[in-house]
Structure formats: structure tokens, C-alpha cells
Symmetry: C2
Subunit: 417 residues, 2 copies
């Protein structure tokens, strides 16, 4: 029996970060514009779980025309250069559908040519590995260049393909490349790897979780068979929501309908797509993505400004002293990973240890540093106004200054640029 | 290139059913209380995709303590009589996780005793079949009693188990029973089947998508190993969201962590649960379910009132003339399926054909009948106030009266009780 006292805590839940400035790289591309969430409320899309299903005639959300989900998915496909898009329960579920299609393909017809191996970049997101593991595919990685740049080269993919060929007599069943790696924000050589995949005839997936919706992404330019997208990460959408895009060659295999025929009742479910659980529900996250879509299309055109913002911020941080950006330079993405020995030194003396940095930033109204970490920090200024970007910079400076004084550390007091 | 004109339609989307009374059986248990969605906005949980992840320290939503997700899942487990609960991308994803665990179990260790067969009730939801199909499990059904009651008996499960034993020399890998069938609202004999499963030693799943959160449900009473729950269907929650509950015996198998060790980078993801894509994100649907939970716990205690409401409505509809409830009588669930020859006769003469009924109801501010159907209708009055229930009854009467007169049909004009 549940006590009503213990239930009270759910009624009383507060959002501690209700008004905070957000700098977590997984979050900044998923901030929902105020006018969008206001519309969600005004129109009462938040009133009910199955909010999009009132006019569902065919039993699948992607076929609904009121609201215009079907045409939205066509526009999403067009926007990212695919032939077809389906919405999914997030980018992880999109990757799952791809891996399932590959695993089924190898089992059914491709086993002479392709092995149940995914060749993935060594800094791919964990969801790529999980999706492979769920489908009994082994993940093999080419190396990266290591500290401090962690770059992955197309030629290392080629070397690895040749190695797999020698070892198994077959090609990998899939090459998967994360468009931008989630550790350091490096843009991977997706076009060059796409060319390789074309030459070798290997199915090719680009995971654009951190890029599609913030910067220009066209899967045709990458020569990709599959593009996986996260709406809550990079399309200014509530979660969980993602998209899977494919080309003509693969769309029927990936979006294969259920073939089950029940022996006794004779029931069949020919409108249901197997790899996305029949129908991916959508709910209020899908409505939020639709409202946000014009904004997303527009903001992608201003990507250069975002890159410049990131580069300005990198210079400012490195000027603070004993701070260095990891990953490629010049940097080409909003995900920033700094090595911060200065904060590490402070943490050794601080009673809150590694937690001091995120906590002090929160006191300044800025949330998103991983709590507990001070030796390395990851952050993003994507979508912030310039005065907000400067506020973030100033906050780091103030925190550094304060503790360099307090603990009498052997650092020159940082000078702002 | 997307034209800005075509994008305008997303900005301008309206919810046609913003203020309508909802009677769709998939929806009524998922209506979010006004105070809940108001809190979602006041606290700005709708501001961002990854709204619950600010204080995630371990890389999995179900381990987060701020907001209290971890304790919420413990309370959900307690509420439904399970040993452990994880949130999922809906009940379909919960069923997928179960079927994956069963499929893996049979492959790895159970193949001498268990076959890759799911014995499921013949009126199970399509997502049960899809989840089985995704995991290469064959679905076998016992029969139901047919028109007009469509009852399924525990002894027919036993007959089928014996048949499977004879044919394959093995037991089914799983018995799956839908607590209430989604076609007619019949309560299935979940306890009796549970006893059978115990005797035969067959893993047992109860799909409580339409019951957990509206009526008392305790998986221990059913002797179930797995309980699958839909939050957007029956827990007053935004979607997509569901829960998977298990007992001690199965929880480590179903919620097995990723075992992948990447060969080059050495990366591992030991906090990530394989069958739920590592981490099931949660997002604003999870927050809505947490706010709604005290309300859900409380409303389940008033289930008898809901059953009485449904029975009153059945009598009223059957009094209308030439209308009959399908499924068991007395009825024990809010999902009602009527055979309505009177509306079928009208549809033959109406220029909108089968669409007239749902359309006319919408004109009266009542939404949720399947558009296009008039020979049979499915509806639910769950959670409606009595004046609203009467409004629904009156609307059917008014529509029937109107067309019986207009088309001069050979029906006695209906009398309201």
C-alpha cells in the first residue's frame, strides 16, 4: 500500500532549473521555443496522451493528415535529403531499426557478402553500440588520433574494411558514422566514408543526432543509406522523438510491414511497420517538433554564426589560463570539450570537491555542466544570445578568480579578452 | 528546398478537438488532469527535450533522484505488485523487452524445454503480435467463444498448451494474456491462466495496457512474471510512455545491462539496459505521469463507480433500439463495443455514409468515435462526470431520432430511460 505522504512528493515536484540558462550540449539544440510550448498549451495538445490520434483512419501515426503528420514527414525527408522519413521513439530507436534491417538482411540474403559486423567510429554514441548489440551485430572500430584532437580519418575506415575482409572473407554489414562525435564535437569525414561505402558496396548509416536540425545536413551528399536524427537533441522538440530517413533502395526493407498472419483468428496488421513497433505513437513530442520545424529550417541557415560564437568562446576560455579545447581546431561544432586543470586544482582544495564548479555555475543561474566533473567540462552555447554567451564566459572567469585568490593558487589572475 | 508557404501550415496548426468531450477508449484513461498540465507549464518542464536529465549522474533516467524518478519507479512497482519497474517508450516497447528476454532465454538455455512460441489470447492487441514478430517468436492463439460474447476461457489455454506440447515436444516460451481485450472490453481470466503457467512452468506476461491505472491490478495476484503498462493509455499521462514490471526471477534477465566491450576503445556501457535502448529518455511524458500518479492511485479506488457508469450507459444505449453491446455481460470494463444496426441503416441513406455518426457527434462537441464506422462503435465514458455521460447518451438519442424521422425509418422512436 502506498502512503499518501509519499505520494505528496510527486504533486509538489518543482523544476529547479525552471529559468536557468542551459549549456548542456545534449540539451541546447532541443530547447523548445517559448511560442511553441505556449501553442502546445493554448491548443491543449497537452491534454491527453494520444493527442494526435483523433483523426487516425489507418492505424498508423505517420499516415495521419489531420494534423498534417504525413506531409510533415515528407518535408523532414526533403529537408535532410532522404526519400522517406518515419518518426521514431528517439534517435536510438531509429538506429535500432537500421541495425535490425541490416541483421535481417544478412540473415536472409546477404550472408555470402556481408558479415554481422558494424564498423563504427570509435567515438560513436553509446546508443549505436546498444542498437547493434540488441541485434547481435558485433561492433568494430577504426582508431582515432588520440589526445588532444581525437580525429578519425576515412582511410582508417578503409584499412579496417580490408582487415575485416581478410579475417572473415566478407564486408561489414554496415558502416555507421556519427556525424559529429559526442565526446569532442569533431565533424567526422562522412562524405569520404560515404564514397568508400559506395565503392565497396556496404550499407551506410550516418547518425546525425547532434547535427540534423542545427547545421546543414543532406544525406544524399553523404551518400548515406540511412540518416538517424534526434528531435529532442537537435530539432527544438520535446522528447522522446527521433526520425529515421532512408533512400529508395532501403526504405522497403527498413520499413517493412508486419507479415504476421494469426493462425486461428486470421488477423493481420499490414499497416503496421515492424521495426518501429507498428506505430510510433508520436504524442505531444511530435506536435512540438511540427510547431518548431519552421524555426529549425530557418536556424540551420544561421549555422555559421553559431560556429563563430563557439570559436569566440573557445578563445576566451583558453585565455583564462590552463584551459585547452580538446578535439579539432578550428572547431566546427557547438559541442565543446575543455580540459580544465585550473578547475581540477581548485576541486582538490574545495570542500565540495569536483561538484563545486557545476554548483557554482548553478548559483549563477547557468545549468548543464556535468555535476562532479571539474577536470574536463563539456558545454554548448548553441542558440544563446551574445549577452548570454558573455554571461557564461564571465561566470567561468569569476569562479576562477575567486578560488585562485581564496586558495592562493599559482595561476596568473585571468584577463578577460 | 522547402517553401516557406508550406512551412506556415505547421506554425498555424490548430487542435480541432481542443475543448471536445473525449470518448475514445484508447484515450479516456490517458486524459491528463488540468492541474497536471498546468504544472508542466508553470514549472517549465515543457521548455526542453531532455527535461529530466539535469541531475543525471549515472547515465540512466531510472537512476535519477532529482526529480525523484528512482523512487517513482519503486512506487509504480509497489502499486502494481511487481518487484521492479522500468519506464519504457510505451507498453509496446515493454512488450518488446519481454519478448526479447524470452527469445534470448530460449536461445541460450531454455530450448530443451521451451519453444519460440508465444501463446496469446486471440483478441490481444496488435502490439503483442508485433513484439513477438520482432523477436522471431510465433504467436499461437486459443479460440474465443465468438459472437456476441467473444469470451476466452482458461481451459482453452490449457488445451492449446497440450497441443503445442504434442506438436513440438516443448512448452510455449511465453503465455501472454491481455488483461482486458481491446476489442470488446472483456476481462480475461488472468488469474486462472496464471495458475496454469505456474503448474506448467511457463513464463507469463499480462498486458495491462487498458487496466493498470484505472482499475485494481496486482501482478502477484495474477502470478505474472511480467506486467506491461501503458501510461498514455491508462495512467493519465502524456505519451509515449509505458512501464515494464517484473518479479525477482526475471528482472535481471529482462533488464540485463549492456555487455559490449569495444575492442579498440575498450568502452563499456554497464549502466545501460539493453532491452530498453540503454535508457528510455522519459522526457515530459514521464514528468506528467509523476504528477498524475497520486490522482491515478486515488481514482483506482473508485473503479466500481466507473463500472456502474458503464452499465447504466449500456442499458440506455440498448434502450435506444436495435443496439446491442458485444462482449461479456455484465460488463466489467469501461471499453464498450456496440453493434448498431440502426446507425448502419442511417449510413446507407446519408450522403456522408459511415462518416455521419462521428461527424454529428463532433458537431455536438463529442469526439472519439472511429470516423467512417457506423455498424459498430467503440467508446468509453471513463472519468466523465455524470452530466457528461448523460450528454453523450442524449447525443446518440438525438442523432437517432433525427434520422429515423428524416429517412422515415421503420424504427420505433427511441425512449430515454
Amino acid at each position: 500500500m502506498l502512503e499518501s505522504k509519499s505520494l505528496q512528493k510527486y504533486r509538489q515536484m518543482r523544476n529547479r532549473y525552471r529559468d536557468a540558462l542551459i549549456i548542456n550540449p545534449i540539451m541546447t539544440g532541443g530547447i523548445v521555443p517559448k511560442e511553441v510550448w505556449e501553442r502546445l498549451v493554448e491548443e491543449r495538445w497537452v491534454r491527453i496522451g494520444y493527442t494526435i490520434c483523433f483523426d487516425c483512419l489507418k492505424g498508423r501515426s505517420s499516415l495521419i493528415s489531420k494534423p498534417p503528420i504525413r506531409s510533415f514527414l515528407e518535408d523532414v525527408a526533403k529537408f535532410f535529403g532522404g526519400d522517406r522519413a518515419e518518426h521514431t521513439f528517439g534517435c536510438r530507436a531509429a538506429q535500432f531499426a537500421v541495425m535490425k534491417a541490416i541483421s535481417d538482411y544478412v540473415d536472409r540474403e546477404g550472408s555470402e557478402k556481408h558479415a554481422k559486423i558494424v564498423l563504427a567510429d570509435p567515438l560513436c554514441h553509446y546508443t549505436t553500440v546498444i542498437a547493434a548489440e540488441m541485434n547481435n551485430l558485433r561492433v568494430v572500430e577504426p582508431p582515432h588520433s588520440g589526445y588532444p584532437e581525437y580525429k578519425v580519418r576515412a582511410e582508417d575506415f578503409q584499412t579496417k574494411i580490408e582487415e575485416i575482409k581478410r579475417e572473415t572473407g566478407k564486408l561489414p554489414g554496415l558502416v555507421a558514422v556519427t556525424h559529429v562525435d559526442p565526446y569532442h564535437g569533431n565533424l567526422n569525414p562522412v562524405k569520404e566514408v560515404g564514397k568508400l561505402c559506395e565503392e565497396y558496396d556496404i550499407p551506410y548509416m550516418v547518425n546525425a543526432a547532434y547535427t540534423a536540425g542545427v547545421m546543414p545536413v543532406n544525406m544524399r551528399d553523404f551518400n548515406a543509406d540511412f540518416l538517424t536524427v534526434s528531435a529532442h537533441k537537435s530539432m527544438a522538440s520535446l522528447g522522446p522523438l527521433g526520425f529515421l530517413l532512408t533512400n529508395c533502395e532501403w526504405n522497403e526493407k527498413v520499413f517493412e510491414a508486419s507479415k504476421a498472419v494469426l493462425e486461428w483468428s486470421g488477423r493481420t496488421f499490414g499497416n503496421k511497420i515492424l521495426s518501429i513497433f507498428g506505430c510510433s505513437v508520436g504524442g505531444v513530442p511530435l506536435i512540438s517538433a511540427m510547431y518548431s520545424f519552421p524555426h529549425v529550417v530557418e536556424r540551420v541557415r544561421r549555422w555559421e554564426e553559431e560556429v563563430n560564437k563557439a570559436r569566440w568562446f573557445i578563445r576566451e576560455m583558453e585565455n583564462l589560463g590552463d584551459i585547452m579545447l580538446l578535439g579539432e581546431k578550428p572547431h566546427r561544432h557547438h559541442l565543446l570539450h575543455f580540459e580544465t586543470p585550473i578547475f581540477w586544482e581548485i576541486s582538490k582544495r574545495h570542500k565540495r570537491r569536483g561538484f563545486f564548479l557545476a554548483d557554482d555555475m548553478i548559483k549563477k543561474g547557468i545549468v548543464g555542466l556535468h555535476r562532479g566533473l571539474s577536470k574536463h567540462i563539456k558545454l554548448s552555447l548553441y542558440g544563446l544570445e551574445w549577452d548570454e554567451v558573455k554571461r557564461v564566459r564571465d561566470s567561468f572567469y569569476e569562479i576562477a578568480e575567486r578560488y585562485v585568490r581564496k586558495f592562493n593558487l599559482d595561476y596568473p589572475l585571468p584577463k578577460r579578452g
